[in-house]
Symmetry: C2
Subunit: 445 residues, 2 copies
């Protein structure tokens, strides 16, 4: 690992070269490197937290004069209860995961003495661009090393001191391991994101970790594939047959357990037949948790009698807005078809749920809604790599290729085909006179 202010071209080219060496390290060497990073960070705790305190002081001043959001200050704080320990534990958790590299996914006998294997391997070079969370450096460096990918890390200016302190620690630690020096590079030069995004010959995948605006900017600015999501506009379709009591749990959890998360619900679609039955209880439960409702006329009328609720009129924009706060847009729909059409037109393909007791309706919803996660009687907040049991999360993708939904280590791998033969000429195979047929026998993995 190295801290560098070299040119983006030089950084990307060095990463490509290092990726070839890193890709061939055995799992034991990659795991040893993770243990070494962990131990070095644990030993450097005081220095890193002191650097983080300096970042925090500047950030608090910026927040006081309004130039930085309070949320960003909070994300910056490595000293917050449990955060440091979680960062260290995360490194060991990644170390303990099964090796994602070298897995044989397919083995076919093409002919005698001619066997094809599909084997998982690293993608190559990752570019990670993140904002205020300094712990992301340790997290992403771990994921990259575990999966045998070289990584270029570019952090936000708010976390510069923390970033440099963590980086120096990791850098010294890795010097004693088999991981090549340029396999993990931390770019400290300012304002080079656009230039890094132009290195499509040497960078294979960009992973942004930050605000919607950051992700949107990156997706607009590069030809390199981007793994992630700009928006998380999740919806729940509440039908008349939903369990009246349990529905409260799922909707309230989806909205209030972490309103700023991408998997929180933003739009509640209510079947018209549910307006006078299931919906009022759900609306009251949301309001009791401090949620503001943005209603269309029918849903507003349905709860008019509950005069103490925080209800506003919805505007068309509300159905296209990721509020990321205790606000929910509510819209009445006549049918399952209307609910599906609304979600496919206004959603972000992240996670959407239906609450119903009708299995046929639920299956149609899950088949026809074109989103990474489609749930039946479940909270949208389940969309998370840890909750899915992946052990770690690279991010949540709304892409339609490669990896979709919460992405574990598997999303940082691709495969290559290995063939071991006996010099056979392909011209001898095929259909027709004098040609040998292919055997194409599946073999055990």
């Amino acid at each position: 690992m190295s801290l560098t202010n070299a040119s983006p071209e030089a950084v990307a080219s060095a990463a490509r070269s290092a990726s070839f060496a890193l890709a061939t390290l055995p799992a034991s060497a990659r795991n040893d490197a993770l243990q070494t990073i962990h131990d070095a960070l644990a030993a450097a705790r005081d220095d890193i937290l002191a650097a983080n305190a300096r970042d925090l002081e500047l950030a608090r001043k910026a927040a006081a004069d309004g130039s930085l959001s309070q949320a960003l200050v909070s994300r910056l704080d490595l000293g917050k209860k449990g955060k440091w320990e979680d960062m260290l534990k995360g490194i060991l958790d990644v170390k303990d995961l099964a090796d994602p590299i070298g897995q044989v996914q397919m083995r076919t006998k093409l002919d005698d003495d001619l066997v094809m294997e599909r084997v998982s391997c690293p993608i190559g070079v990752l570019l990670i661009i993140f904002e205020a969370r300094p712990e992301v450096i340790a997290n992403i460096a771990s994921l990259a090393i575990k999966s045998g990918n070289a990584a270029i890390l570019k952090g936000g200016k708010e976390s510069t001191e923390s970033f440099v302190a963590i980086s120096q620690t990791i850098s010294s630690a890795l010097a004693a391991t088999q991981v090549p020096n340029s396999a993990i590079q931390l770019v400290t030069t300012r304002d080079v994101i656009a230039q890094l995004l132009a290195q499509d010959r040497n960078i294979d995948l960009v992973i942004p970790r930050g605000s919607n605006d950051l992700v949107r900017y990156i997706k607009e600015s590069t030809k390199i594939p981007v793994l992630g999501h700009a928006d998380g506009l999740c919806s729940i379709y509440l039908t008349a047959s939903a369990d009246k009591n349990k529905a409260l749990d799922a909707v309230v959890d989806s909205k209030t357990s972490y309103p700023a998360a991408c998997n929180s619900v933003e739009t509640l679609l209510v079947q018209d037949a549910a307006l006078s039955t299931v919906f009022p209880g759900v609306a009251a439960a949301l309001c009791s948790k401090g949620v503001s409702l943005r209603c269309d006329p029918p849903s507003k009328a349905a709860i008019a009698a509950l005069s103490d609720l925080a209800v506003q009129d919805a505007t068309p924009d509300d159905y296209d807005t990721e509020h990321l706060s205790l606000t929910i847009a509510i819209k009445t729909v006549a049918s399952l078809d209307d609910a599906i059409a609304h979600i496919n037109a206004h959603g972000s393909g992240h996670t959407d749920a239906i609450l119903t007791s009708d299995p046929a309706e639920a299956e149609r919803f899950m088949n026809e809604v074109d989103s990474a996660g489609v749930y039946w009687n479940a909270s949208t907040r389940l969309a998370d790599g840890m909750r899915y049991g992946f052990g770690t999360e690279v991010g949540i993708s709304t892409n339609k290729i490669h990896a979709r939904g919460p992405v574990g280590l598997e999303g940082l791998t691709i495969y290559k085909y290995k063939i071991r033969g006996d010099y056979q000429a392909t011209a001898a195979y095929g259909e027709g006179e004098g040609k040998k047929p292919w055997k194409h026998e599946k073999m055990a993995l």
Copy 2:
């Protein structure tokens, strides 16, 4: 299916809408549509071949005055022996493949009454851009329908008459099936490729079928992921321990069985220790098949005694050129490391082979060469979906994400996560006091 001269925006938007309906058709409906297309094309044989003859006449004139290549004329000819029958058989072959949609790839019990499944589904909307081969329309329409993807097809002007005749036949045939009309659209408007490539909101994947220049132009001109390869610069590393007789078979097959194919070998790297042992026989065998050798000084010297060989001096450009003809560049290297470094620097990540009797050397080569196909004692011409046993081929990808190497139907799919629950709130789960742990039990598929 419809022939359209609507705006690219309208075409892409209609495709997106149709993709939702197509994605939910059962396999039986998709297979019925393929049978219907097959039967209709078989019935329209004479009309289509007459249209193709008109394209051919124009193309032959253009070739005669030098404005079109003879190779393109040859690719245009649907009447060529076996081509029409192969096209029809291809449709039924695709029909008979296993359904790629609805496959459960993962099933996890998150908790009691809370089960997650990962299920394969179509990607959405494909844009297929192709040049002279009119049979590609039938091929790609079949693959798209089988995999539940909507497709927009844009053909080259040389095959316009054939294209329209095939399209009209398929279009009428599909009208009697459950496949929505806009699921397969054939764009007949000229010069709209750039505008189609800008429809990244509604098009999920571009598949170019044509020359290297076409693919390179498309990769440079769109933010939509492109499945394919611009270049096929394949290398073989010939070591001194290779079997002296069998090596001829593998190298000659790699170079001469179809010189214009992307998986033909373009560079032969010769270990210096092999120059006087294995190499002369290989060189003589290549020359006897009409291959021109472009040699560096050591390899030229090694075969100087064989005075009747067609040998020229290699220029540096030769090692970066996909000759696509009976020409091969030859370069002497001192070691396995040098061979690997040359391939990773000059190759196109398509397919590369080592010929050796040393298993350790072979395994290092296969692990360290960063290509979609890495072969030991095998012909590079094996890189092909049919030869791999995939039953069909969407194309060969040198991408580092999603699909790499020969791509079968699987490459036209992605997945979604379905969760079936009982309204559980996620806030109740996790570590710490009063929290329920996740079960994360793998379930049978």
